[in-house]
């Protein structure tokens, strides 16, 4: 008897998942436990396994389709078996072995046999070209290669770079991230595009906003070149949540710098420490996470969840931190961060961040946070206004380390400071407690070595 493969429900809040890639095709033999497809939820990428052995008889949805959970997505059985009853209502039939109905009309000549269509030639890129593209923040997908066999070589990247407007390096890397688009000319020196000129990519980040071949008219202005992408998966959930956050909470951001000398000095010591200690990879951000985890317990009103009619103050710190991935922002949670050592925090943060990047993060690792830290300092951002992650009531933004003039005994000294931006939900937390928390955090950061004793 044919058996259906069901779109699994991967967490309490998951309503649908996207089929990223079919790993088995109709007609393929399948063993129990074989992965038949890869799916992506708003939080993670998973594999769906076949519960039984047999032949994959049909796929009910195509790649890229958003499928509600608990719906049949494929069927396994003996070849020739009837599975009509398992087909979900409304699903098309993108691929079954007997799809002869979709054969091309006879009038269209068949493609010549010697050009196999199923395996397009992988287009290579020379190491030098890749190197140049990386250095310039230039995406290479879609570039036409002029090297032997269509290989993308240095001159192709150079040509693409020349076709691009002149930009500052930061602006270029922000454009390369896909989240921003640039106007044809900028406001910087000599028409150079700076970060000020960038516009958020909307409604979806365009993979190739400036290098795709122009459609019909060659005279079309550059900014009209858009590629429309469906909003789904991670992007969809971010879009919904961020809007809900802004619409349902009263957000207030407080800025305060913290003396970063101790942080930098300690980081230097960690980096220079013996490899055997396993401390060389501890980052500034890990140190901030440590400081937050040790400071928050004294401020229970910030380590809380607000559900409208009650405030749940948590004794433990479950620390969320923002990770930038190709699919969008993901916030994994370090559980019981207040009980972990610096080394443990650092290791856990790295493990979770890697899992986010690889799409291997589990829904459980993405839930249960009581406070969030987000860091744009490494991208050169000094201050920003983080958006709350409800039902949490506070989020800390970490900016870049910059020199700040400070009066000392004889005059003015330039002391490195790290920028802290705390967004709180004024419905629950007032400005003063927020400021006191920032003060404590700032002091703790400036004496990070003392904190380590706690």
């Amino acid at each position: 008897m044919a058996t259906a493969i069901v779109m699994p429900k991967l967490g309490n809040t998951v309503e649908s998942s996207i089929i990223v890639r079919w790993q088995k095709q109709p007609g393929d033999a399948v063993s129990a436990g074989d992965s038949v497809c890869e799916i992506e939820t708003d939080k993670a990428t998973m594999e769906v396994e076949s519960p039984v052995a047999g032949t994959l008889l049909a796929q009910f949805f195509g790649e890229g389709e958003d499928v509600p959970v608990m719906i049949n997505i494929a069927v396994v059985g003996a070849p020739g078996e009837d599975f009509a009853s398992l087909r979900p209502a409304g699903a098309g039939a993108p691929a079954t072995p007997s799809a002869s109905a979709t054969a091309p009309p006879a009038a269209v000549p068949a493609a010549p046999v010697e050009t196999p269509q199923s395996e397009p030639q992988r287009v290579g890129i020379s190491p030098r070209a890749r190197h140049l593209a990386e250095r310039k923040g230039m995406p290479t997908t879609g570039l036409a290669g002029s090297g032997p066999g269509g290989r993308i070589i240095e001159r192709d990247v150079q040509a693409a770079l020349e076709a691009q407007p002149r930009m500052t390096p930061l602006a270029r890397s922000m454009v390369a991230s896909g989240d921003f688009v640039a106007p044809p000319t900028g406001s910087g020196a000599g028409g150079r595009i700076t970060t000020r000129d960038l516009q958020p990519a909307a409604p979806a980040p365009a993979a190739q906003p400036l290098t795709s071949a122009a459609p019909a008219s060659a005279a079309a202005p550059v900014e009209d070149l858009v590629e429309v992408l469906p909003v789904r998966g991670t992007r969809k959930i971010i879009a919904e949540r961020m809007l809900a956050s802004m619409q349902t909470t009263a957000q207030l951001t407080l800025d305060m710098p913290a003396d970063a000398r101790a942080l930098q000095e300690y980081r230097k010591q960690l980096k220079a420490s013996s490899e055997a200690l396993g401390l060389q990879k501890v980052t500034i951000n890990d140190l901030v996470l440590l400081a937050v985890s040790r400071t928050l317990p004294q401020f229970p009103d910030l380590n809380a969840l607000f559900t409208g009619d009650s405030i749940a103050q948590h004794r433990s710190v479950h620390l969320g931190f923002a990770v930038d991935t190709p699919r969008g922002l993901i916030v994994p949670v370090i559980r019981h961060a207040d009980r972990l050592s610096l080394k443990e925090i650092s290791r856990e943060a790295r493990r979770l961040a890697d899992a986010c990047q690889n799409g291997k993060i589990t829904p459980d690792e993405l839930s249960g946070g009581t406070f969030t830290v987000t860091n744009l300092g490494s991208l050169g951002v000094e201050h920003f206004t983080p958006i709350l992650n409800p039902p949490q009531v506070a989020i800390l933004g970490v900016g870049s380390i910059h020199l700040k003039p400070v009066e000392d005994g004889e005059g003015v000294a330039f002391v490195p400071h790290i920028a802290l931006s705390l967004t709180i939900n004024h419905q629950v937390v007032d400005g003063a407690p927020g400021a006191r928390f920032l003060q404590a955090l700032s002091r703790n950061l400036s004496q990070i070595h003392l904190l380590l004793a706690l």
Binding site: S126, P127, R128, A129, H131, S146, G147, P148, G149, R151, I153, E154, R155
Partner: protein, 818 residues
């Protein structure tokens, strides 16, 4: 080839009969009374002692190999052990009349020769001389070990020293005579006249001739013996060595005061087996080995068969033959009859000989027969002989205990690159010995006068100057040769047509007038002996330039280049140096067997330096460098380039002495978009390609001549490819297995991230070289380089390739093996 020797048709066409001299066989007549008087009891008994040392030493190794223990000492000896049990009398008798100045070269079966010759030398040297030798050798390190378990006189210490140095070498220990780098088959100890033993059958023949040549040319005392096996009579290089040793010119053309022919004795240790084959009756046809002498020269090489089972018969023959050799009347051939009781090696199942045959020989065992002789003639009684046996055993036990211990006798530390450090001696010496170089002309009156006066750069205002008035590549080489000939008294040069003709391509034109015969002479057409003798000459401490007229003839000297010239510096643990420059000429226009570039073949062999200059400037500067070094250099030259002037180095070829820096490539055209590296004469085709790429396609092309194949400093090439990102390599060597692929592999790995395309190799086709008229289809041409760049590196706009260089063509050729 000299006008002073005329060939008369009347003489050579005269009917007659060739009479040959008679060959004595076992002519020695024992005469105990005369022997007692000649040698004296002590020496006669000492010969017995030496035979007993060898017997026990070899028996000990036999036990270790077969049973893993000797007298309760357990040891697993992993290496070879070719034992000479049964042959003791032949080596002890041979060594008796040899002084430390006399050299012996041996084979894989030479433990007995090392011990016999060393024990004889110890008897002849004073305590001071022995102490000095042992203190100096390897900074006294082996001596320090031996002192720990030895007592008594210096001579007694020296006996343990020889036993230990040899055994530690066999066991591959750092305090062995050659730091374990030679092992059982190669161990040697020059201070006692024990020269390298060779594991290539007959390998010592031509090397020993070279050593004898060194003694003759440099007026050194002593004779040289090549101890080789009867089966080596089947080896071409052994015959070549005999031809080289028997040249008439030593008597007809060389200065009489030099003393005649090189003092070389070919001693065939005739044990009647070549591993398992029997030269007599099975694998050869001479019947009596000594007969071969008749075919070599009118003296029949003074050949004799002697009884190698009687030490006194052998001693008598050596005494007489040594005299013949010192009188310059060599070469000598001895057919020394002997027999090994042990197998070829411990793995020998003796499937090829009958047990009763072995028993018959054992019944005549020289140790038993000679012991009886000593007792019968009142030289020793049983007690004396037993006490000798006891002493031998005690010493060997003491030595083996020290040699098996890894604490006392450690192995070389290979965790650092210690063997790498021995591959080359990397020294520079203006002269290998002090003295005044023997010449026939003051330098100022030589042909240098003419070459110095020529234009030293081939272009004026961009236009070529007349070639005859401009210094050529061949003349640049001549200037380098002249310089070193007038600096280093040991330097000699030889090969085919080197004298009078001045080398087939005239490189040596002008040397004949400047140098006496013994410094520049014509050799027989014996490529193996040309290189092999040069190896022997160089390892004795003389500088030598051997020439192979065509690169293609290297095949004839394969063993001598690959196993001898390349290996002896490291196999000796740098006890020996190899100041040998082998000039080989890469031809063209002469078809399949005279037009090959074999740089890749020698590049593969560790231990050789490999140079290939492509301009007159480099030719002189690189030959200067090679001729001042102490390492073996295969020096490639191009026949295409011999008549060419310098057109790249604008300052021209300096008249004064200069050297090119070792391993440094030269940039002959600067560029930014593409790099072409060439080896050899393809440099000029690469430059033509670069010009066209720049003019037609706007591709700024850098051209680098590697000049050196080994050692090679890649820095300049890496720097270039980092800049350009694109690189093609080209040479006239056949593409498959070309050294260019080694270079390409290194560049891909080192500069991967900088490459815009894979490293492309443009070699010659994997064909025979066709005749001159069709050569352009075989050797890389300008068009091949450009088409290769177009197909594999950087497609060129509006370029229509005229040759097939795409990757599918590479696949097709490889599929077919062409």
């Amino acid at each position: 080839m000299t006008k002073s020797l005329t060939i008369s048709p009347d003489a050579v066409r005269q009917p007659s009969v060739l009479q040959s001299v008679e060959i004595p066989l076992n002519s020695y007549m024992p005469d105990p009374a005369r022997e007692a008087e000649k040698y004296g009891t002590e020496n006669l008994v000492r010969m017995y002692r030496d035979m007993a040392f060898i017997r026990e030493f070899e028996t000990m190794l036999d036990r270790l190999k077969k049973e893993g223990s000797y007298e309760g000492i357990e040891y697993n000896h992993k290496g070879p052990a070719h034992l000479s049990i049964g042959q003791e009398a032949s080596v002890v008798g041979q060594s008796y009349h040899l002084s430390p100045d006399d050299f012996i070269f041996g084979s894989h079966r030479s433990h007995g020769e090392i011990l016999a010759k060393s024990l004889s030398a110890i008897e002849q040297l004073s305590d001071d001389e022995l102490t000095r030798i042992m203190e100096r050798y390897m900074d006294g390190k082996p001596l320090r070990v031996v002192e720990k378990f030895s007592s008594g006189s210096v001579r007694s210490l020296a006996i343990n020293y020889v036993l230990y140095g040899t055994l530690a070498e066999i066991f591959a220990r750092d305090y062995g005579f050659n730091r374990g780098m030679g092992g059982s088959m190669h161990a040697f100890f020059p201070p006692f006249g024990v020269m390298p033993n060779n594991a290539i059958v007959g390998g010592s023949a031509d090397i020993a001739v070279g050593a004898a040549l060194y003694k003759r040319v440099n007026r050194k005392p002593g004779i040289v013996i090549a101890n080789i096996g009867d089966a080596s009579m089947g080896c071409g290089p052994v015959w070549e060595a005999m031809m080289f040793a028997a040249m008439d010119q030593y008597h007809t053309l060389w200065d009489a005061d030099l003393g005649g022919a090189p003092p070389i004795l070919f001693n065939f240790m005739n044990n009647f087996y070549g591993m398992g084959g029997q030269p007599v009756g099975e694998t050869m046809g001479f019947g009596v080995l000594a007969r071969v002498g008749i075919g070599v020269n009118p003296d029949a090489m003074h050949a004799e068969r002697i009884d190698g089972f009687n030490p006194l018969a052998v001693a008598d023959a050596i005494e007489r033959k040594k005299q013949t050799l010192l009188e310059g009347r060599g070469p000598v051939l001895l057919d020394t009859v002997t027999y090994r009781f042990s197998g070829h090696s411990p793995s020998d199942a003796m499937s090829y000989r009958d047990k009763t045959e072995v028993e018959q020989w054992r019944a005549q065992d020289s140790l038993i027969v000679y012991a009886d002789y000593l007792k019968d003639n009142g030289h020793a009684d049983d007690e004396r002989l037993e006490s000798i046996q006891k002493e031998v055993k005690i010493r060997i036990l003491d030595v083996i205990k020290a040699a098996v211990s890894l604490d006392i006798s450690p192995r070389l530390d290979t965790s650092i690159d210690s063997i790498g450090g021995m591959m080359f001696s990397d020294q520079f010496k203006d002269r290998m010995a002090e003295g005044t170089p023997e010449v026939l002309l003051p330098k100022e009156e030589s042909r240098l006068k003419a070459t110095f006066a020529k234009n030293r750069f081939g272009l004026k205002d961009g236009k070529p100057l007349p070639k005859l008035q401009t210094l050529t590549y061949a003349e640049a080489l001549y200037e380098a040769m002249m310089h070193r000939f007038y600096e280093d008294p040991t330097m000699v040069a030889y090969g085919e047509e080197n004298r009078d003709w001045g080398g087939a391509f005239g490189v040596y034109r002008g040397l004949t007038e400047a140098l006496p015969y013994h410094r520049l002479f014509n050799s027989p057409i014996s490529e193996a002996a040309i290189v092999g003798t040069a190896v022997g000459y160089a390892m004795c401490g003389g500088r030598v330039v051997a020439e192979l007229m065509y690169c293609d003839f290297m095949g004839r000297a394969g063993d001598e280049i690959f196993n001898q010239m390349a290996k002896w510096q490291a196999m000796s643990a740098n006890v020996l140096q190899m100041p040998l420059v082998l000039r080989v000429s890469v031809g063209s226009k002469y078809g399949a067997q005279h037009s090959q570039d074999w740089t890749s073949i020698v590049a593969h062999i560790p231990g050789l330096k490999v140079f290939f200059p492509a301009t007159p400037y480099d030719a002189k500067g690189m030959l200067n460098l090679a001729l001042r070094g102490t390492d073996p250099v295969v020096f490639f030259e191009s026949q295409r380039l011999y008549p060419e002037p310098e057109v790249l180095v604008e300052s021209g070829v300096p008249v004064d002495y200069y050297e090119i820096e070792m391993g440094e490539p030269a940039i002959y055209r600067a560029g930014t978009d593409l790099t072409i590296v060439s080896v050899g004469a393809t440099l000029y085709r690469a430059l033509d390609a670069a010009k066209e790429l720049e003019q037609k396609h706007g591709i700024s092309t850098e051209v680098i001549d590697a000049r050196f194949i080994n050692p090679l400093n890649y820095d300049k090439i890496i720097e270039s490819v980092r800049k350009t990102g694109r690189i093609a390599l080209t040479s006239d060597a056949c593409e498959r297995g070309s050294f260019l692929h080694t270079m390409a592999s290194h560049l891909s790995q080192i500069a991967f991230d900088y490459l815009d395309a894979p490293v492309a190799v443009v070699g010659a086709r994997n064909w025979i070289t066709p005749p001159a008229e069709m050569e352009e289809a075989f050797f890389p041409q300008k068009e091949w380089i450009i088409d290769t760049i177009h197909e594999r590196v950087l497609p060129l706009a509006n370029h229509r390739p005229s040759t097939l260089q795409a990757t599918d063509e590479m696949l097709r050729r490889n599929r077919l093996g062409i």
